[in-house]
Subunit: 351 residues, 2 copies
């Protein structure tokens, strides 16, 4: 890592938080360990006064209270692996300046809510609709633009992509920081799509050109490049760091002998078909044993036995999905620092 | 801030997390917003196999299962403001190298558990006892010493200081990261005293000379100075940053007119007797209106009306407690970066 982290980046790192990687041991990430990125401030929402409004290119404009949504009989619960598009950003050289994630911006919660498709069907999407816009109650300034956080999805993703309007996380009401009283959850997409503190859903007849779609969250070769939109999650495997850590350096110490390495792998482009591990910094690889994911959008557990011999080692892991995508050995730089999935590397002293 | 934050500090900042300051709006800090500092790894504890053992200078060695503790009839619930001793560390010049906290390392949870005094009385503390040692199940290397996290308290604090052995936080079982299945909570003391993942309690007949008491958590003028122990929380007031933020800089924008400033103040040395605010960077101060704390160890809410006029302003707040302690205008440097309570400063653009 070149330059030190600036105070502005530290301010973001002190507010937002990753999932400590030993929490990969939990199939469902406990609240408070799931990663969190908040663009502006966490709003305090009065759930009694709050309404979800659905309008735009629909035949019926509709609104629901929180009780309306909670008392419906079509709620479903699904474990969904969510990752920040900026995960891995602080591993890039030069480092794009934003929330300085290393590898921890991930989590796998059990979300309970109403399928988005059901509400769109009730409002009857009109001819000519192409996108659906989701607007949060959080407000701030970004890139010089005062805005409420808002992101659109293509209509077919909104209707057929398994998106939920979630009012519960791990069986409890949404915590304030994860979008109370209601958030969108878009399986397989990076977290920027899963708008928190949802206020309005608007069906559009033209692509949304607002800040978070048109300027932020794009894969750009330079600041001037309009780039391509960031969408689905690229495959990644992460490992529970074995042994015990040094407090300050986080360097690992492992007792010699048989060590059961374990972790999770996920992709938004298809199921995980292979996880590989390396104990020599990626010079040689062998296959890990994949387990069974808790659902189609939930990460895949994996294990790999390692005969740890005294000395210094660099452990790595990488995932490949059914679409054929795999993790690169070297980072793919882009101006916003998105979708960097270069492999995890853990320096380990075996003694 | 002088030098940029190092990768090692960033690794800590990505794992541990503060309370975003807008969460001062919540009297009881929701889980996931309360600050978190984990020295080593978060252990995964089997609650069925787990036992709390109490031994050392006692007449009866005792042990309890989690069910034993949960089914007792002497559990109490208390809101306790907890703050990391290193809060404010990254505001010091030069910056001591450890978890780089700015101001967010605080929270006020409702802890439910068994008064420590009751268990000590059941074991009958023997003559000659002077301290009580609390040993966690978390293990790592720190300052070159392999250890389980362990801290002692003077016997009179352990017996008469209102300490709880907590198995619930905000009415739910302790989350893994806050010490499941059981943690110590020591009201009024910095967080290092409230040992998480508690395994053993040992009554000692001599002061504990282990790492976390004898080397870490001391107010030292230099690395060679043995220093004085860090104990109770110094007074501090913090404010909900008003208006809306810029994403990257966290600079605030406020609409002109009457603004109700609000925040919380606390001290481990006595009740809060005065909170003051300044809108001119501390050149002039006036008193805020204190509210009523939810309990003797819970932070005190406060409000202050501010007539915001267009232009640039620096908002500050400071607290004074019943012991006469107040916050300094300039930081008090020490080698470990502990107990820095220089006043919060928020740059605000009123428009």
């Amino acid at each position: 890592m070149g330059d030190g982290i600036s105070r502005e980046e530290l301010q973001l790192a002190a507010r937002n938080h990753g999932m400590p990687l030993e929490a990969l041991a939990h199939g469902i990430t406990p609240i408070g360990l799931h990663y969190l990125l908040v663009h502006y401030d966490i709003p305090v929402v009065d759930p009694g006064a709050w309404r979800l409004r659905l309008g735009g290119r629909v035949e019926l404009e509709l609104a629901w209270s929180l009780d309306d949504l909670r008392s419906r009989d079509d709620a479903v619960t699904a474990p969904v692996t969510m990752e920040c598009a900026g995960n891995g950003r602080a591993r890039l050289e030069p480092r794009p300046i934003s929330q300085p994630w290393l590898l921890e911006a991930v989590g796998n919660a059990a979300w309970t809510g109403i399928p988005l498709r059901n509400l769109l069907d009730e409002a009857r999407v009109a001819d000519g609709a192409v996108e659906v816009l989701f607007t949060g109650l959080d407000r701030g300034v970004e890139g010089g633009v005062e805005q409420r956080y808002a992101r659109s999805l293509p209509l077919e993703v909104a209707r057929d992509g398994g998106a939920l309007l979630a009012f519960a996380m791990n069986g409890a009401p949404l915590p304030p920081q994860h979008g109370f009283p209601l958030r969108l959850v878009v399986p397989g997409w990076y977290g920027m799509a899963s708008v928190k503190w949802l206020g309005e859903i608007t069906v559009l007849d033209a692509p949304y050109d607002g800040y978070q779609n048109a300027r932020a969250y794009r894969l750009r070769a330079s600041e001037d490049d309009p780039g391509e939109p960031v969408t689905r999650i690229e495959p990644r495997a992460l490992m529970v760091p074995p042994g015990i850590p040094d407090f300050l350096t986080r360097r690992r110490f492992v007792d010699a002998g048989l060590v059961q390495l374990r972790g999770r792998a996920w992709s938004g482009h298809g199921e995980i078909v292979r996880v590989e591990v390396s104990a020599d910094g990626g010079a040689t690889w062998r296959e890990a044993e994949p387990g069974v994911p808790a659902g189609p959008h939930s990460w895949t557990p994996w294990t790999a036995a390692w005969e740890a011999e005294p000395g210094e080692h660099e452990l790595c892991c990488r995932a490949t999905d059914a679409s054929g995508r795999t993790q690169p050995a070297a980072a793919r730089w882009n101006a916003g620092g998105y979708a960097n999935t270069d492999v995890q590397r853990i320096a380990v002293t075996v003694r």
